[in-house]
């Protein structure tokens, strides 16, 4: 609890560092913040072309929203994913790049990775706003689900922040971590139903049946991936416009809190020695 107080006391610093990240990122570019939209848009075009048009992946229409647009269906899961991936790839090196600052000034170190989470969240909010507008134009009724959407975004941010704290510390000990994180994220993207619907996995799983004489199915193993549940809820809220199952919420909440608690504990144990370790 006292640690939480310390972090709260540093909230102004956190806000200032976040502003520094945001302003520094696009300074001296002509399009500024608009650049942050380019990345998801290009990904959307590629995936829609390859998976929606060439491979003909056909997700079920939104129920009850009735939406049937591959690009929108994709973005509902892709934007949360890109936020998650950006947080991890950018925080993993945050302590190492600020080594100079850590060795010269005392402050609550945790604000360094958290400020990256903050600046990524800012970009994400911007993207999600555009998506909400696009969904509304497409005929979805997203406004009633807005409070739940904000809650789910918070949960994903907590989950990402916890992992980011662990990765940042690991990278201080082993500089390999940053490359491993990049690789794992690529793998993780394909293990999560973002560019294909979850129904394809359950269909395969039903055909194969229980594996190796146990009662465990492929779908069971597949759903160990927390991102399956996070992404599912985002699609429920945004694309289908219906309430997600309570069990799914509980799974996401459990993952989010487990991640942030473990992350904060690991960070705290190593924080004191950062100046020497770097």
């Amino acid at each position: 609890m006292s640690y939480l107080n310390e972090v709260l006391a540093a909230r102004e610093l956190l806000a200032n560092l976040t502003m520094r990240e945001i302003r520094g990122k696009y300074s001296r570019t002509v399009f500024g913040q608009l650049w942050s939209l380019v990345n998801p848009l290009v990904l959307m075009l590629i995936y829609t072309l390859v998976f929606g048009f060439i491979l003909k992946v056909q997700p079920a229409p939104g129920n009850p929203s009735g939406l049937d647009v591959f690009a929108l269906w994709l973005l509902c899961a892709l934007l949360p994913w890109t936020f998650f991936a950006t947080v991890l790839t950018q925080t993993v090196g945050s302590l190492v790049t600020h080594a100079n600052l850590i060795q010269k000034v005392y402050f609550t170190r945790i604000v360094l990775p958290l400020s990256v989470v903050g600046s990524s969240a800012y970009t994400w909010l911007f993207e999600m706003f555009i998506l909400l507008v696009a969904l509304t134009i497409g005929g979805a009724r997203v406004l009633p689900w807005l409070p739940l959407l904000v809650l789910q975004m918070l949960l994903l941010a907590l989950f990402a922040a916890g992992l980011a704290l662990m990765a940042a510390i690991a990278n201080v000990y082993f500089r390999d971590t940053q490359y491993i994180v990049g690789l794992l994220l690529q793998l993780w993207l394909y293990l999560t139903p973002i560019i294909y619907p979850l129904s394809l996995v359950t269909k395969q799983s039903d055909q194969v049946g229980p594996v190796l004489g146990t009662t465990v199915t492929i779908a069971d193993i597949y759903s160990l991936n927390p991102m399956v549940h996070f992404v599912g809820i985002f699609r429920n809220l945004l694309y289908d416009n219906r309430a997600p199952e309570v069990a799914e919420w509980l799974i996401c909440t459990a993952w989010a809190f487990a991640s942030i608690v473990v992350g904060a504990l690991i960070f705290r144990r190593n924080e004191m020695r950062l100046a020497e370790l770097l």
Binding site: E12, R20, S27, I102, K104, V105, Y106, Y173, R273, A275
Partner: protein, 246 residues
């Protein structure tokens, strides 16, 4: 006698001297270990008190442990054993202008750096003019700091740190900052500090400025305290040891 501003009690600090350090997973796995190291004691059982409202100097030869001691005082290192207790708010300035973002303007950097040093937004707003005035870069305050000359950079950094108005200020070799005019301003500021009952702890290689500015000093050699007390006396015994060894 009043409460000391800082009390250093039996502080020791060891570092690992790595003969082999495997910072990549491959080498850690291949060599089956993360590191091979010896402990090196940079500070051994250091104890002293810094009286409140004084300017306190730390002297010693290169590699004597001054900087380690200063970093322990600035809370950047945590002592391996022993404790340091503070009586008041601490600000440390081991390198001026660290934490400046080159692309941001001087104004934005004042707010950023001020909050890193522990000032609230309100405090910075109220002292903003004073900071800019002291640094003498007011004409360029809205320019990105990457266009600053090194002197302007350092002066702005120093002005922020000194305006934090801590009860205890820890500084490293700041007397080499800026031109003679700016140095004179700094001296005056330190005097003002002392008169308002604040404590300054400084490291310097310039023994003359230590005798000039400090009332008390500690002499560190090879991680142990050789002498502590009146600045003039401490500097004298340090000088004697130097001339004796030559």
């Amino acid at each position: 006698m009043s409460e000391p501003a800082v009390r250093v009690e039996h502080v020791s600090k060891s570092f690992r001297l790595y003969h082999e350090r495997n910072q990549t997973l491959k080498s850690a796995v291949m060599r089956r270990r993360v590191s091979v190291h010896d402990d090196f004691w940079a500070l051994k059982d250091v104890s002293f008190e810094v009286p409140a409202g004084s300017t306190f100097g730390i002297i010693g030869s290169n590699g004597s442990g001054k900087s380690t001691l200063l970093k322990c005082l600035a809370k950047i290192y945590v002592p391996t054993s022993g404790a340091i207790t503070y009586n008041g708010r601490l600000a440390a300035m081991l390198e001026v202008g660290s934490g400046f973002h080159p692309e941001l303007s001087g104004r934005e950097n004042v707010f950023l750096n001020g909050s890193i040093l522990g000032m609230s937004r309100k405090e910075i707003v109220s002292k903003f003019d004073e900071i800019v005035e002291f640094s003498g870069v007011s004409e360029f305050i809205d320019q990105p700091v990457k266009n600053y000359s090194s002197g302007m950079y350092v002066r702005l950094g120093f002005s922020i740190a000194i305006t934090v108005e801590p009860d205890i200020l820890v500084v490293d070799e700041v007397l080499s900052v800026g031109d003679a005019e700016f140095q004179a301003k700094c001296f005056a500021k330190f005097r003002e500090f002392r008169q308002s009952g604040r404590t300054v702890i400084m490291v310097s290689h310039s023994l003359d400025s230590i005798t000039q500015m400090c009332q008390k000093a500690v002499w560190i050699n090879r991680g142990t305290v050789m002498a502590v007390g009146d600045a003039a006396m401490t500097v004298k015994s340090y000088r004697d040891s130097l001339s004796g060894s030559l």
